[in-house]
Symmetry: C2
Subunit: 231 residues, 2 copies
């Protein structure tokens, strides 16, 4: 297989409380998204990648990519208003020989190579769409306003991480279908959901706690502590 990655990195990170784009927040002196690119590339499974950044920060991101001297060639392109727009933008420019696409959150800096490999290899073995998952740590409840209406059986729930892997044609078709439908209802919180809505099958492989997403200030404390530990 020929595998490329799309890394949406245009998020503003409101929950982090920073003015800087989240992807450019420094962790151990290195921008968050550069950690993510390095972790993906270390898998040895990628031929190329697209980072989709905030339009006004693409220059800075391209400079950070050059400074990091990564093994994989990464292009930085300007993103859209939503995560879905940004991933769609990244898909548009992939080389024609790419047949497997990973989509990875820029805010998951430390995804282990084993997770990346499991995802790519499961697509290579024939799956249309693959997501890495971990058990749900806290009890999850469904609410209506301030009232609990259900407690779903936790043993059947999984927290979904990235990279999510797709046969390219499947992901492109899902994005085309989502655009055509005018995105009714809730926006999809991940890419696999678009494949599910298009009727495709999504399978799970084991993720890893280290593939956590930096969302709030506490995640940044953890990321800094890990960056210090691992040098």
């Amino acid at each position: 297989v020929t595998c490329a990655a799309v890394v949406p990195a245009a998020g503003r990170g409101e929950r982090l409380g920073t003015r800087e784009a989240k992807a450019l927040c420094l962790v151990g002196g290195v921008p968050l998204f550069v950690h993510a690119l390095r972790s993906l590339g270390a898998s040895g499974r990628l031929s190329a990648g697209m980072v989709v950044g905030p339009p006004q920060r693409c220059e800075a991101m391209a400079a950070a990519v050059r400074a990091a001297r990564l093994d994989v060639g990464w292009d930085v392109v300007p993103g859209g208003a939503t995560r879905q727009d940004s991933v769609g933008r990244g898909l548009r420019d992939l080389a024609s020989d790419v047949d497997v696409v990973l989509v990875h959150d820029a805010a998951r800096p430390f995804v282990p190579v084993e997770v990346v490999r499991r995802v790519v290899d499961a697509v290579g073995a024939g799956a249309d769409a693959v997501v890495p998952v971990v058990p749900v740590a806290d009890t999850v409840k469904q609410v209506d306003g301030a009232v609990v209406v259900a407690t779903p059986d936790r043993s059947r729930l999984r927290q979904v991480q990235t990279p999510q892997g797709f046969r390219r044609s499947v992901l492109e078709a899902a994005y085309t279908a989502a655009a055509a439908s005018g995105a009714p209802g809730q926006p999809a919180s991940d890419d696999a959901t678009l494949v599910e809505r298009a009727g495709g099958q999504v399978v799970v492989v084991p993720g890893d706690p280290l593939a956590f997403k930096v969302t709030g200030p506490l995640d940044l404390v953890l990321a800094e502590a890990l960056a210090r530990q691992h040098g």
Copy 2:
């Protein structure tokens, strides 16, 4: 209201990979459960509390409580085989004038006082059962084996933390009903679920990321970093 806390602390912490009981793991030089007791007591809402520990470690836990010189009086009693048994054991020995009960995981060391107060005050204002919640950070999927069968609308899901607060009579009735039913189906992963099963209403109040639960090694890295920051 007269409010007491029950803190189940008999878990073995397999996911931490330690041999010691999880509650006795040191964070910043202090056992995990002592942080939890201190955080609860700092709310100023507690009259007393019961820690339910592993039978062979109750001596050590009582010594740690004495050494910490906490403002609230905490008894340490031996727990049962399951979390549910342990909470039931703690409930048995509460003073007769207690009318509000908090149940708090020993493995949530840094719950902010505001969260504790919100929970107690909501019960004081008339709620039967109250749980603190935060938004779900990752997409959650429902699986059947290795296949995704649904992606519940994330905007309706909440991650549940502790302390959970209850009118004492409501929690006791829920525990009695659970014991009588012989606990069919899935074991409840939190106490509010028992109230829901007994037909009671559970309401939510805002939790806080700092009320996270120490489950795996990464959580311990975060807890250590926070213990260093906050002295």
